[in-house]
């Protein structure tokens, strides 16, 4: 019964996976562009953001239609509510990748020596953030509670890296390029925020699977 409704729900679930893949690609691209100072790649990341925004809008609209017309309850309702939340996290993550790409394009080609080590930390943050979001998307795709639950733990590592980064940047005060330090702080922050979105995503997977309200909010 209600085949059309449940087929559409499955299709939307898959669209979230697709959006996740696009967001992951953007973040990976932004990380690589940063590490290699590749302004062309950064441009590609920026151009790719429109497709992600369009997908976000499409998924939201289709969810609204289901809510209006199908009066979903129980697991179906929790899935739609989770989808609406998750696509918001994915869209913001992609925006953060866009911002990182933009900063890469603004960077000078020559890196002051004192900043090299700090750049290495930011690159590590990028790598960790990419892995974290990939894990969250995998948890969603396979509806894996254990994987979703582990994301919070992995994010702790990301937060530690970020704290170290800020510590190192503060030590740079008065030396080298101030503008470069600001850019690195921003990029580092954006990667850390991507990690937070991945954690939210994981929590929504857990809410959908268990209905436990502790995973809301």
């Amino acid at each position: 019964m209600r085949d059309a409704f449940h087929k559409e729900l499955e299709a939307l679930d898959q669209e979230v996976v697709r959006m996740g893949a696009l967001a992951e690609e953007s973040i990976q691209g932004a990380t690589t562009a940063f590490v290699e100072n590749d302004k062309t790649l950064a441009g590609t990341v920026r151009k790719g953001d429109d497709a992600i925004d369009a997908l976000f809008l499409d998924i939201e609209k289709r969810c609204l239609t289901l809510l209006a017309q199908q009066a979903p309850v129980a697991g179906d309702l929790r899935l739609i509510v989770a989808i609406l939340s998750v696509v918001g996290d994915l869209e913001r993550s992609a925006d953060l990748a866009y911002n990182i790409a933009k900063l890469v394009q603004l960077e000078d080609s020559v890196t002051p020596t004192g900043v090299k080590e700090v750049r290495g930390l930011v690159a590590e943050l990028g790598s960790e953030a990419t892995k974290l979001l990939a894990a969250a998307i995998e948890a969603w795709a396979s509806k894996d509670e254990a994987l979703a639950a582990d994301i919070g733990r992995q994010d702790d590592r990301l937060d530690d890296l970020h704290t170290r980064l800020i510590g190192r940047l503060v030590e740079l005060k008065g030396q080298e390029s101030f503008a470069e330090a600001i850019r690195l702080a921003l990029v580092g922050r954006y990667f850390e925020r991507i990690g937070d979105h991945a954690v939210n995503l994981g929590e929504r997977v857990r809410y959908f699977l268990t209905g436990d309200e502790e995973h809301l909010g």
Binding site: H6, V73, A74, G75, L77
Partner: protein
């Protein structure tokens, strides 16, 4: 499988089973119904919803061959006890049916009829006004109480039936699909009325409209059919009973989940 803890206990149903002749219709139901709450009973056709509520006021006995086992405690007293008069039981537990069934009398007479039989000694005019006000019908009929009840619209007739039930001062009102014969506006008025009535009464409603159950009730009981593979005999069981918001956001039983999501009829 009991409901929430607030609200005084009105009914306790213990191991209730119903047979019609040799056929088991309802098996081993255990539940509690509390005052100032609306309890919805949902489930597919033929799962025993109407059978269950007819046990609450001993109306099943009007069906030949019907046999009830287990107990139904009403304020602690078993209504199937040997010294209990079923007619008295039915006076305390008002019932409203799917098709409005006003008496072919005036609006006024519909209300006072039951009260007179019960030996009501108070002011009849006051009783009529009070009952019609409580049923949100007074303003529409106050100038034409002598008119035939059959001249009213379907929705008005149903509210008259509710007023009639209230007039004998029950503390429970049982409604069997009270709005399914009504248009959406009349349905909304009945649902709004239920919210007002629950302040003073315990309401039990059978509905096959799940959105209605979700909208109006505080607690929901999900009944479903069990089948004996060998004999193809079928009977109703209570699968799950809980807070309505819990039943419709995270049901505990997969059968409940499948039913409320429309994954089977």
């Amino acid at each position: 499988m009991v409901g929430g803890s607030s609200g005084k206990l009105v009914f306790t149903v213990n191991n209730l089973s119903v047979h019609y002749g040799r056929n088991l219709a309802l098996k081993d139901v255990n539940m509690e119904i509390r005052s100032q709450r609306i309890t919805a009973i949902i489930g597919p056709s033929g799962c025993g919803k109407s059978t269950l509520i007819r046990c609450l006021n001993r109306m099943n006995e009007l069906i030949p061959g019907a046999r009830v086992s287990g107990e139904v405690l009403y304020h602690g007293e078993d209504i199937y006890g040997p010294s209990v008069d079923p007619v008295v039981v039915r006076r305390h537990i008002g019932m409203v049916f799917q098709r409005p069934n006003p008496f072919p009398k005036s609006i006024y007479e519909n209300i006072v009829f039951g009260a007179k039989i019960n030996g009501y000694k108070g002011d009849m005019d006051e009783l009529v006004e009070r009952s019609l006000r409580r049923a949100a019908l007074w303003d529409e009929v106050k100038g034409k109480l002598k008119k035939s009840a059959l001249d009213l619209s379907g929705g008005q007739q149903q509210r008259l039936c509710i007023a009639r039930a209230i007039a004998v001062e029950p503390d429970v009102i049982v409604m069997d699909e009270p709005a399914s014969a009504l248009d959406p506006i009349a349905t909304t008025r009945i649902e709004d009325l239920m919210q007002e009535l629950k302040r003073d009464y315990s309401i039990v409603i059978v509905t096959h409209n799940m959105q209605q159950a979700a909208r109006v009730s505080d607690e929901t009981a999900f009944l479903y059919t069990e089948v004996d593979e060998k004999t193809s005999d079928r009977w109703g069981i209570l699968v799950e009973f809980g807070d309505t918001s819990q039943i419709f956001t995270r049901p505990r039983d997969k059968r409940t989940e499948d039913y409320v999501s429309g994954r089977f009829g």
